[in-house]
Every structure is written in C-alpha cells, then in structure tokens.
C-alpha cells in the first residue's frame, strides 16, 4: 500500500495543478483581472498539497523503525524483555529477519513467529496511517490554499519565496553534510585522545601503531607521534609542487600568450587527458617505471636510493597535478584584460616583458590560489602514495629516503578486520581530523592572499 503512495501523490498533484489553474482562469474571466499568470496558481495549490504530505512521509522515514521496534520490545515476554541490551538486540534482529523473510534463527525463543507477525502487523498499521494521514493532511492544506485563490492573490510572489527557500535549503544541506563529516571524524578522534595524549600525538617524533594491539599492552606502548607522517606528506607534496608549479605555469603562459590556435587545439585536450587518468594508474607508473629508474640512476651515481623514495612518488604526483596548475593558471592569465597587454605593447614592451611585469602580477592572486588548491590535492592524494610510498614512518627530509604519509597510514590502519575500539584504528580518525584541519588552514591562507592582492589592485 505504502508503495503506491508516491504514485498517488504525483497523480493528485498533477490533477490539483490543472484544477487550480483552470479555477484561476475562471476567476480571471469573471473579474477581468488576475494578479499572476494562471500556472502560478496551479503551482501554488499543488505545493500546498505536496509539502505537508512530504513532511509526514519524512517523519515516517525517520521515526517509524524505532517506534515499531519499541512497541515490539514492549510486547515481548518478560524473560526476554529483561535480557541485557546486546542480547536483546540479537533477538530483535532475529525477529526482524524472520518478519521480512530472510534466513533467521527461528528457534531463539518460543513465540518468535508470533512476534514476527506482530512486527509485520505493526508495520502494516503504521503504513496505513501514514498513507491516509499524508493524503488527508495534504488535501486539507490544499483546500485552504484553494480558498485563498482570488484575483488579487499574489501567487507569483509566493512561488518566488518558495524558490528562495528551496535554494536556501540546498545550500544548507551542503553545509550540514560538511558538518556531519567533521563531527563523525571528530567524535572518533576524541575517543582516540582519551587514550593518547593530544600533545604526544601532535608533537611526538615516532609513529609505530602496530605495537598497540599486542595482547595485554593495549594502547600503552604504541607510539602515536604524527610528526613523521606529516613531515613525509609535506616532503612528497613539496617535491610534487616543485615539479608541477614551474611546468604548469610555464605551460599556461605558453598556451595563453604564445601558442597559435592550432597548437592550442592539440595541447589543451592532451593536458585534459592527463588530468583524467585515474590515480591508480599513476601509482603503477610510479612503481613500475619511475621508482626503478630513479633507483638505477642513483646506483649508477653511487647513491643508495630507496625503491620507495619520496623523490619518485613526488615526481609522479607532480605529473598528476600539472594539468590542475596549468588549467587554473591558464584561466586566470586569459582573464587579464586585453587592454593591459595593449597598454604594455604600446609602450614598446616585448611579449615576455609584458608577461613578466604586467600579466603575471595582475594574475598573481589567482595563480597562488591555484597553487594552493594543487597543494591541497597533493596532500590529500591517497592512491599514488599507497602504491608507491613507504610504510614505515621515518622522520627524514631527504628525498631519496622512503617516507610514509598521513593518507597511507589511514589506509593501512583501517583496511582488513579491525576493532573500532583500539587506539590503533581510532588513530586513523585523529589523523583524518588533523589532515582536515591542515587543508582547511591552507585554504584559509589561500583566501587571505587572494583577498590581500585584490585590495591592492582593484
């Protein structure tokens, strides 16, 4: 029955739309005046029908399950009702599985079949209530709206505010989701900080979470100093930026200022292909091609380079973010007004002088914003480093050492069967939270810089 509710709602809504529209046309014909176009009255009345119905359905989706479950528990025999919470939950799950026809342990207590039937009956009842109440509620509010339709009623303005609310609601959802993600990470991280000292995590110089799950030593002897991880992340990201920023920026300058349309038509799509390659493929490239090449070159020069060196990973990550830097910079450079270029040429400046002294300074805020965006991308990048970076946390700024990153550690801490109450797994959330705050801080700085230059130049 509940399955048909949406179909019924849609049909009734459409009917109400045309019915109210027709009614408003009739009013217009009688009184010779109508404030808004007839379709606005149609939308107006159908919104009044639809919204209360949807609210009731929403409440049903949120509360029905817990309501039915609590009535179910109340109906159970006393000896089961008084079981400890986790055992009671198992029984309830059995009943629910039986009720929906899944394979269930039907012998957990006598009368389980009756309980399952009771559960189904309850659900059917509540479905029926919601079905009728949403329709009746909608029809009531619709009747109210229908009565307000008159030649002077401003349905157009009503629709305008309804659209305003709709748009505002969408924006709020995005904010709530962000807040939800942050909170879910935050609470797990707080559980971690119950066990491990906050300053030890933030400033500790060694990272060795594996020790923590040995029996009898839970949490006590694991080392959770995150500094080596962040040092590794920053080292790899820096190598990536050192490669990507000059190449990306110079590519952007070439494409927007020097390249003729033919070259541009070929080069731009190729760069875009580069940005479309899945990062796991970059990971292969790093492991199979770049890392051995760097290692061999190193041994030829007499250097002992780790096969998971930060240099190799950083270079591949740099290749990955070149398109990001170049396309963002290209947009910014192209948006510098042509009059700036002509002003400079008109004074006898050459192309490169114009770029160096006029265009780049004018485009600088945008370019810096783009670079910081690329930095955030590099810091949060996971797949390449999981495949090609090291696993052991070594505090080193030497690019030929193997270092590990925050994202690699999060992945290794959480993959496989894990219990979510040991500091080892909870550490992943603490790392995630710190990474989140770090990138937030980076974005904040980016905005500051952009705003500062804006003030100066506009």
């Amino acid at each position: 029955m509940f399955n048909y509710l949406f179909v019924v709602l849609i049909v009734v809504t459409i009917f109400i739309y045309f019915y109210s529209k027709k009614y408003s046309i009739k009013i217009r014909n009688q009184s010779g005046y109508l404030h808004s176009l007839p379709q606005y009255y149609g939308f107006y009345a159908s919104l009044w029908f639809l919204i209360p119905s949807l609210i009731i359905i929403g409440l049903y989706l949120i509360f029905a399950e817990s309501f039915v479950t609590s009535t179910l528990i109340k109906s159970l025999p006393n000896n089961i009702k008084n079981l400890p919470v986790n055992e009671l939950n198992l029984v309830v799950n059995d009943i629910k599985n039986l009720a929906v026809g899944n394979i269930a342990n039907s012998s957990s207590f006598t009368g389980i079949n009756e309980a399952a039937n009771f559960y189904n009956e309850q659900y059917e009842l509540i479905d029926k209530v919601v079905f009728y109440s949403s329709l009746i509620m909608g029809l009531l509010t619709f009747t109210y709206a229908y009565k307000t339709i008159s030649s002077s009623y401003r349905a157009r303005n009503f629709i305008e505010s309804a659209i305003h609310i709709l748009l505002f609601g969408s924006a709020v959802i995005a904010i709530f989701v962000t807040a939800g993600i942050l909170l879910s990470v935050l609470f797990e991280a707080l559980r971690f900080f119950d066990v491990i000292n906050f300053s030890e995590f933030l400033f500790g110089l060694s990272w060795s979470p594996q020790m923590a799950i040995r029996e009898g030593q839970v949490g006590s002897s694991g080392l959770f100093g995150a500094v080596p991880l962040f040092a590794g992340t920053i080292l790899i990201s820096l190598i990536a930026l050192i490669l990507a920023v000059p190449i990306g920026l110079l590519t952007a300058i070439y494409l927007s200022e020097y390249a003729d349309t033919k070259v541009r038509a070929i080069t731009k799509p190729i760069l875009e292909i580069l940005s479309g390659i899945p990062t796991v493929v970059y990971g292969f490239f790093a492991v199979i091609t770049v890392a051995p090449f760097i290692r061999n070159t190193g041994s030829f020069l007499g250097l002992d380079i780790a096969s998971e060196s930060a240099l190799g990973v950083g270079l591949v990550m740099g290749i990955m973010i070149i398109p990001l830097v170049s396309s963002l910079s290209d947009d910014v450079i192209s948006s510098v007004p042509q009059s700036m270029r002509e002003g400079s040429y008109g004074l006898g400046a050459t192309k490169s002088e114009t770029i160096k002294k006029v265009i780049l300074p004018a485009a600088l805020p945008g370019i810096i914003g783009g670079i910081l965006l690329a930095a955030s991308r590099a810091i949060g990048e996971t797949m390449i480093v999981v495949m090609a970076a090291g696993l052991s946390a070594k505090l080193s700024f030497n690019p030929i050492d193997a270092v590990t990153t925050v994202t690699v550690q999060i992945v290794t801490l959480l993959t496989g069967d894990q219990e979510f109450d040991s500091p080892k797994t909870l550490a992943a959330f603490a790392l995630g939270l710190t990474l989140f705050v770090f990138t937030l801080f980076l974005n904040f700085i980016a905005l500051k810089i952009v705003r500062k230059y804006r003030e100066q130049y506009e």
Partner: protein, 271 residues
C-alpha cells in the same frame, strides 16, 4: 547610395599634406583582416605641433588606421598591412625597424583608461625602465615627476605616488596613461577616443592637456565628438567605409566640407 559616391580610383579630397614639419607620412596604405579589406589606399601626412583628428562613423577604419601607425595591428594574426608608412626617414614596415623601438617613439593612449595594476609611480616608470632611459634612481624619480607634471596630474597625486594607479578616478587614470606615454619621450602620441569613457569635467582637462602637449608632439586622435574635434584639432580627416574621404584644416572641414559624405556626417545625417 552613399557607396555609389566612391569608386575604385577614388582620390582623397582636400589637402593630405601638412604645413608643419612632417613626422609621419602614409602612402598607399591598405589593411586586410583575412579577406576583408578594412582600409583602402590611405595617403596622409602627420605634422609636428598639430593635432590631427580622425572622424567618421563607427567601423569606418579610424582605429585600424591609428593602430597601423605603431604596428599594434601586428598582434592580430589575420591582419595584413601593405603600403609605406614612414616615421621621419624610416619605413616602419620594413624589416630593419625594431617594432619595440617604434612603439617607444609612437606612444598610445587608449579608449578606456588602462593603468597597470601597479602603483602610480610604477605605472609611469614602466616605460623608462624597460627601455633603460634613465641611469639612476634620482633620474627616474625626476622623469616620473616631470611626466606627471606635464600630464597635469602631479599636484593631485604627489603625496601618494606609491598607491595603486587603479584607485584613481577615471579622468585621473587617463591622465596617468598619458603621463605613462610621454615618459618615454615619444615623437607621436596616438589617442583612440581618449575621452569617451570620461565625464565632461575630466574631458575638459584632457582637452586642455592635449592643447599643451601638441607644442612638443605630433598628436593623432580618433574622436566621435564633432565638438571635440572642432575644439582641439588643427586638421581633420574624414573616414568612410575604409576610405579616407577628405582631409582639411579643421575649420575648413566644419564650415565648408568639399565632399558630400563629409557634409552629411558633419551635419549629422550619417553615422
């Protein structure tokens, strides 16, 4: 029917020669954008200490012609220029001349004020710096001040030379652009509707400035304002659909034009 008045071997009416010392001379200049001919066989001289006004309806080729004089059309890929344009003795379209040096000698002021996003000082110092005109900081400071003085802007900005040029008012920005152009000591200043984005008071200031500047420079100015052409120019050239119809002393053009098209335009019947 107006087009019928011009045939292929049309000769510009009036007097294309200047009575002053010739600074630039244009002979048989044609300009093409791809296959479209934008200018047709233009002949004209530009003299020292005078303002030559280019007038005509929109799209008639005035700005295109102006941009031939400092080869700014070179930046447009599809644009081709033929004929001879001399700056004093040198052919500016010959292979020998360095376009960068040419533009240093033929300055330009644009329709919309376009100061660089730099300080007032750096805007004026930009040209001298790239051409190495000055050898010391003191010399550069002085050149910046003199240029701002000549552009009539110094008194208004002397205590904030290091604030952004883009923060000035529209009229001040345009005078800053003029100061920037004269800082590299050009022979000719090209102006492409320099007052069209300005209010009447700022316009009056710029016109006064043009009157002073013409003593030392040859000025070629595109304008859509008949009254402005009458006020500031000594000679005027009327363009129509890529043809130079008539060149004469400004007084003669406005009071007794030789060509029917010029007469129509002056009296407001075309354009």
């Amino acid at each position: 029917m107006v087009i019928d008045m011009i045939n292929d071997d049309f000769k510009t009416l009036g007097n294309t020669e200047t009575s002053n010392k010739v600074v630039m001379s244009v002979k048989n200049c044609n300009v093409f954008y791809g296959d479209n001919q934008a200018l047709n066989d233009i002949n004209i001289e530009v003299g020292r200490s005078e303002v030559l006004a280019l007038i005509g309806p929109s799209g008639c080729g005035k700005s295109t012609f102006l941009r031939c004089l400092n080869r700014l059309n070179d930046t447009i890929d599809s644009c081709r220029v033929s004929g001879k344009i001399h700056l004093e003795e040198e052919d500016i379209y010959s292979g020998e001349i360095d376009v960068v040096m040419l533009r240093a000698r033929v300055g330009m002021v644009f329709q919309k004020p376009n100061p660089f996003p730099k300080s007032i000082y750096d805007n004026v110092a930009y040209g001298p710096k790239i051409h190495g005109i000055t050898t010391s900081k003191e010399e550069l400071d002085e050149l910046v001040e003199v240029s701002l003085e000549k552009a009539g802007l110094l008194d208004e900005v002397k205590d904030r030379l290091h604030t952004p040029g883009t923060a000035l008012s529209g009229g001040q920005q345009q005078r800053l652009c003029i100061a920037r152009a004269i800082a590299i000591k050009p022979d000719v200043i090209l102006m492409d509707e320099p007052c069209s984005a300005l209010d009447p008071i700022a316009t009056e200031k710029i016109e006064d400035l043009i009157n002073e500047l013409k003593e030392n420079y040859a000025i070629v100015m595109v304008t859509h304002s008949m009254s402005q052409a009458a006020r500031v120019s000594q000679r005027a050239a009327y363009f129509h659909l890529g043809n130079l119809i008539e060149v004469n002393d400004t007084e003669k053009i406005f009071n007794d034009p030789e060509h029917e098209l010029t007469k129509n335009y002056i009296s407001g019947r075309t354009g």
